[in-house]
């Protein structure tokens, strides 16, 4: 009798140990897999979580359990990510910090002081040099640039950009893109008038200036009143690209949550290689197309194709619910034929998100929907097919970023 129960106990003991090893082994295995992707999530508990994963094709991630809580670390989502490092400027503390994720925690690698500056755009130059363009604090009325060596986290140079300062009723400006050419910079921007805390006005014109590089002296300024609010903050969302021919494309978004001139059209502009002003013969007018709405983001698929993220004016009430009502759609556009193909995805929420990764024929799209949960969708460009990939559990409120961790 005793011998039998002893036998049972040993079996139970053996099974428990085995399960324990398998369980722990599983976690160990995942930690050893290379992290290829980064995900930044705002959860329903109000906290921001950072996660990394080897794949976006499958699996389940639970932010509150598996994510690194960013609540106390004050790292927002306007990030620059490259080669497994995250760069973030906290304008309040004036610290520009380089982080990485190691052993499941966020680690500060280095930090430098960058006072009275806010980033509008970034560009990677040769080596590991980062060119930041932005505005002064607290005035937001003097364009500036900062060149940073990211290997030793030191400021190489800082100075003013010789763009025309805001004047008259215009008190501030938005710098929408900075395109680096061998000997010059092309900078797109517009001006704003303040209307107290509740509202603001925007010029009906967009501007593109050429500056000598590295002297930063103004050589020309072009005006275009076909639309306004060119580009956007590329630390938050992509809205420009340079194609294989050397032509530069950017969106304009006068929608209520960006340029706030909703009566003006949204569209895609082009600056041809070697030219310094928007092409007068090219304007893909999204508002006038079958989409008939403002475009908030654009990602290049290669050749003449892009994916755009557009709002649905009939589904939200105003600025109060623009970011939390699920109303965003995705479309594949052919920039030359102007063909439009809608992607059959659930309506997405969140005004601006870095939510698309293009890897050859595969496009990952992060959707935070109202009724269909939070998934990374996998789109195949060649055959226009979609399927669900990695799932994020229901404690997720918004997937704010998906990024690759490589160069």
């Amino acid at each position: 009798m005793l011998a039998t129960s002893k036998k049972y106990l040993s079996v139970v003991y053996f099974i428990t140990i085995t399960l324990f090893i398998i369980g722990c082994g599983g976690i160990q295995k995942d930690k050893n897999k290379p992290a290829n992707y980064s995900l930044y999530v705002l959860a329903k508990d109000g906290k921001n979580y950072l996660m990394q994963d080897a794949t976006l094709d499958s699996g389940v991630l639970k932010p509150e359990a598996e994510g690194i809580s960013l609540d106390t670390l004050r790292m927002g989502r306007s990030l620059i990510i490259r080669n497994h490092s995250y760069y973030y400027l906290n304008s309040k503390t004036s610290q520009f910090t380089k982080y990485n994720v190691s052993g499941g925690t966020l680690k500060i690698l280095a930090s430098l002081s960058l006072r009275n500056f806010t980033i509008e755009n970034y560009n990677w130059l040769q080596g590991d040099t980062l060119l930041l363009t932005g505005l002064n604090l607290p005035g937001y009325n003097q364009p500036e640039f900062v060149m940073v060596s990211t290997t030793d986290m030191k400021v190489i140079k800082r100075g003013n950009l010789a763009l025309p300062a805001p004047s008259g009723k215009f008190v501030t400006m938005s710098i929408g893109f900075t395109e680096k050419r061998p000997n010059s910079l092309l900078i797109g921007y517009t001006y704003h008038a303040s209307q107290g805390i509740y509202n603001f006005g925007t010029s009906d014109t967009l501007y593109v200036s050429e500056l000598q590089y590295p002297a930063m002296k103004l050589t020309s300024t072009a005006k275009d009143n076909r639309s306004t609010y060119p580009g956007g903050q590329n630390t938050v969302q992509s809205c420009t690209f340079l194609d294989e021919k050397g032509d530069y494309y950017f969106i304009s978004c006068p929608g209520i949550a960006l340029g706030n001139r909703p009566e003006l059209p949204s569209g895609i502009f082009r600056i041809k290689k070697g030219e310094t002003a928007p092409d007068r013969n090219y304007f893909f007018n999204i508002s006038a197309s079958s989409i008939h709405n403002h475009v908030y983001g654009m990602w290049w698929l290669g050749a003449d194709k892009v994916i755009v993220r557009t709002e649905r004016r009939d589904l939200f009430k105003g600025l109060n619910d623009h970011y939390k009502t699920a109303h965003f759609e995705y479309h594949v556009l052919n920039l030359q034929t102007k063909a439009i193909q809608k992607l059959n995805l659930p309506l997405d929420k969140g005004t601006r998100k870095q939510c698309v990764i293009v890897q050859g024929n595969t496009v990952y799209i992060a959707i935070s929907s109202a009724k269909d949960g939070n998934y990374i969708w996998n789109y195949k460009v060649s055959d226009h097919t979609l399927k669900r990939g990695l799932k994020l559990t229901d404690d997720t409120d918004f997937i704010l970023r998906i990024d690759t961790l490589g160069k």
Partner: protein
């Protein structure tokens, strides 16, 4: 000669001799004097009892036994009386004076300074030129201006003039902008979603509230 009863009587009647008076006086004022001696050897205690009986016969007939109260009784009596007094005063005051505790006044008449209010479970930064108040009893918030607000508990308030309810989750911070009445005339954003407002508006909010 020792002092005795007859001697004391003659002393009180002023009928004693000089020598006798002197002895009595000596006895009266001398603490070390011997105890009073009874001349005929009568039992002192029996005499004491006889004297007491004489005295007692003079007392009133109805000498009821009065219970003595303890000090604790008197303490509680006083405490209860005081409590009733304060309760009565408090109730009268409560009824007579407007109920200010239920209403949180957030008005900021300054043209440039942000006003901080920490009251009734709310932490609020009130922007310049803002009129606002929270009625905790009616669960209503009245606002003309802008505030940054955080509540200690989950709470739902009706935003006056919009017909809409605003929900505060415990411990989270919200920005509410409203300068007009109307169903769609308000912007309320969780501080975590600030980046989803137009960048130009974010800058104004950051500058205003020093976020």
């Amino acid at each position: 000669m020792s002092v005795n009863k007859e001697l004391l009587e003659r002393y009180h009647l002023d009928a004693c001799s000089v020598e006798e008076c002197r002895e009595i006086e000596e006895w009266l004022f001398n603490n070390e004097a011997n105890d009073f001696k009874l001349s005929d050897g009568t039992d002192k205690n029996r005499l004491k009892a006889e004297m007491w009986n004489d005295i007692q016969s003079v007392f009133p007939e109805n000498n009821k036994v009065v219970k003595t109260r303890s000090s604790i009784y008197y303490m509680w009596k006083g405490a209860i009386a005081a409590s009733l007094f304060f309760a009565l005063t408090g109730t009268l005051a409560y009824l007579a004076i407007p109920q200010s505790a239920a209403i949180v006044n957030l008005n900021n008449n300054s043209a440039a300074q942000v006003k901080q209010v920490n009251s009734a479970g709310y932490t609020v930064s009130v922007a310049p030129n803002t009129r606002a108040s929270i009625n905790n009893e009616m669960h209503v918030i009245d606002l003309n201006g802008s505030i940054l607000i955080s509540a200690e508990k989950d709470v739902e308030l009706l935003l006056q003039g919009t017909g809409k309810k605003v929900n505060f989750k415990k411990g989270q911070t919200y920005i509410i902008l409203k300068n007009r009445d109307g169903a769609d005339e308000m912007i309320m954003v969780n501080k975590e979603n600030l980046l989803d407002l137009p960048p130009v508006m974010q800058r104004q909010i950051n500058t205003h509230f020093d976020i």
